[in-house]
């Protein structure tokens, strides 16, 4: 009560809010901001770790130049095929998870059972287990071998793309395994579209096909972009991906530089996604 005499109500509100956010801000400063700044600092230095001290020698952009220009094979030979692979995996994941989410949203007997099964990937895909499955060859579809698709690929697709396509094909099941959270997001997003809109469109004589393209899909646009962002982040930060596994304790300086280069690539993709989203959103809202 003393407070209310001393401060006006907005100040009190701000104090309360600050109290609630304080732990998170503290955690951010200690566990995110500080290591972030430190890794940026290290990326400009030659780091030598001795038994009881750490020595830094300033070498400017040398690490970056080393990775980007002088010794580019480290980055490019692994990054470019990976980017090609992701360029194919992302649309597959998005389309597949959208399709499954729409189907799971229908009413039919046994829906709960299917939902239980379809959320299984959320549980497994983050673990070591998936690696085991890849090793066992569980990732591939045997139909690919039966139809000799890889042979046709090599024949008709330019070499630079054939290998990533083949890799995506051979781990196609895995791609489906990575779409657990995306299905969840689409399903949750589909719930936010009001039933009254669907009723209205039915009364106006719109068939389900039409309804999907005119109502469901535009309504899900924010979720499509959310999923796009999530998929990009998820694929790019997966510990088994080729670049990420290069960030290790063998050389602190150049590993930090590599991490920063990699992060700026991710950031570019995410910002691009956000930019496209704002454009699409604007054009859609103009139509409405």
């Amino acid at each position: 009560m003393k407070w209310s005499r001393k401060f006006d109500s907005t100040t009190i509100r701000k104090l309360e809010g600050s109290l609630f956010i304080a732990p998170w801000v503290f955690g951010f400063l200690v566990f995110v901001a500080f290591p972030l700044g430190y890794s940026l600092y290290m990326s400009f230095h030659q780091v030598k770790i001795t038994v009881n001290s750490v020595n830094y020698t300033f070498i400017g952009l040398n690490h970056y130049r080393e990775i980007l220009i002088a010794n580019g094979s480290l980055l490019y030979e692994e990054l470019i095929p990976f980017l090609r692979e992701s360029a194919m995996m992302i649309p597959i994941i998005l389309v597949f998870s959208l399709l499954v989410a729409i189907l799971l949203n229908l009413r039919f007997p046994g829906r709960t059972l299917f939902r239980v099964i379809f959320f299984l990937p959320v549980i497994f895909s983050s673990g070591q287990i998936v690696q085991e499955f890849i090793a066992q060859g569980e990732g591939s579809l045997s139909i690919m071998e039966t139809l000799r698709i890889d042979y046709y690929l090599q024949e008709y697709v330019p070499g630079a793309w054939a290998a990533p396509i083949q890799k995506v094909m051979s781990s196609f099941v895995l791609v489906l395994w990575y779409s657990g959270v995306q299905i969840l997001i689409f399903l949750a997003g589909r719930q936010t579209l009001p039933a009254s809109v669907y009723e209205a469109s039915r009364i106006d004589g719109s068939g389900p096909w039409n309804t999907f393209w005119k109502i469901t899909l535009p309504g899900l646009v924010p979720y499509i972009f959310l999923n796009l962002m999530y998929t990009v982040v998820d694929l790019f930060t997966f510990p088994s991906n080729p670049i990420v596994s290069r960030v290790n304790t063998s050389n602190y300086g150049s590993s930090s530089a590599l991490a920063w280069i990699y992060f700026s690539i991710i950031l570019t993709f995410v910002l691009l996604t956000l930019f496209i989203y704002s454009r699409v959103d604007k054009s859609l809202s103009g139509k409405r």
Partner: protein, 324 residues
């Protein structure tokens, strides 16, 4: 007379045509439905797709379970592909010995559940503050939250190792647990975002009513806000528990020389040992069965948790804005 007859014939033909058409339409209605998504054909189509995809999801688990119960005779028998003739549990036993299962299991479960509990509270508080409270530089912190979400953990991992080394936390669980208490840790930013999305959908009248009844901010959060966020909490608890249980990356870097390690690490160590043994020429037909048994031992607790929680989980996913 003739005309009348012909007329009645035509009428009959017309009538039977009508009947035929009626039958056809009713058949069409049953097959295709009044709209596409109500007919039999469509339902059949849906089921075919769903069952196929469900099979893809279940197949590795089936494979795992059937492989691990095969003994030498069943493994070598080419007629046995899926269903073994006899059930052999020796591989399970051996795998659990190699994994040091009872100890690692306790470590994994205490680590994952303590992180999950801490993350639920800390992320709920932070998400609540982001959604409904006011504090200085709110926009800036919101942007930094998103930044944390998209930032790969690899970029901060090396300085974190040095930081935790400075604190003397290496080879303990503290590097995983302490950040979680502050709303960070594994995918902490995502959980804050989930809570923020949930709390921002609640009506404003709720705060006002609680405030009117004289509830302070803390009481309001713990008595009103946190209890009604049950659906978001279920989602966050399950995600957090499962991801921490499965996580290999953080423990492998923060406790690489530790004696007491969670299951994800022991699995990796075991795979390494087996690879070494294979390289040394000890080729065994059991290798795959033992690997599968180990995988099963690690997944099984998650499956139990999931089967137990799935009802609330699915409901929670539908009701929260898991998304904004």
């Amino acid at each position: 007379m003739k005309i009348v007859k012909r007329g009645s014939e035509a009428a009959i033909a017309l009538y039977s045509g009508e009947k035929f058409r009626k039958g056809l339409t009713s058949l069409r209605y049953r097959l295709l439905g009044a709209e596409i998504d109500k007919g039999l054909l469509f339902k059949l189509f849906v089921y075919v797709i769903l069952i196929n995809v469900a099979f893809i999801y279940i197949k590795p688990i089936l494979y795992m379970v059937t492989t691990m119960v095969k003994d030498a005779k069943n493994i070598l028998d080419p007629t046995v592909i899926w269903v073994p003739r006899t059930v052999f549990l020796g591989h399970l036993q051996q795998a659990s010995e190699m994994l040091n299962y009872s100890k690692s299991f306790l470590i994994s479960i205490s680590l994952a559940s303590s992180v999950a509990v801490l993350q639920v509270f800390s992320c709920a508080i932070a998400g609540y503050a982001f959604a409904r409270l006011d504090f200085p530089f709110k926009k800036v912190w919101g942007a930094l939250l998103l930044f944390t979400f998209i930032m790969p953990p690899q970029i901060t991992i090396l300085p974190s190792i040095m930081l935790f080394k400075e604190f003397g936390w290496l080879n303990t669980f503290l590097p995983m647990v302490v950040p979680a208490a502050f709303g960070h840790g594994l995918k902490g930013a995502m959980f804050v975002i989930i809570y923020r999305a949930f709390y921002s959908t609640l009506p404003k009248e709720l705060d006002e009513a609680a405030r009117m009844d004289g509830a302070g901010p803390f009481r309001m959060f713990f008595r009103v806000m946190f209890p009604i966020s049950r659906s978001a909490t279920v989602v966050v608890v399950l995600f957090s528990f499962v991801w921490n249980w499965n996580d290999f990356y953080f423990p492998s870097l923060f406790m690489f020389t530790a004696e007491n390690v969670p299951l994800s690490i022991t699995l990796a160590r075991m795979a390494g040992e087996m690879k070494l043994a294979e390289g040394a020429g000890e080729i065994t037909v059991y290798a795959e069965a033992i690997k599968m048994a180990a995988s099963f031992l690690i997944i099984m607790p998650l499956l139990v948790v999931y089967l137990f929680a799935q009802r609330w989980f699915i409901e929670g996913v539908e009701r929260t804005g898991l998304v904004e």
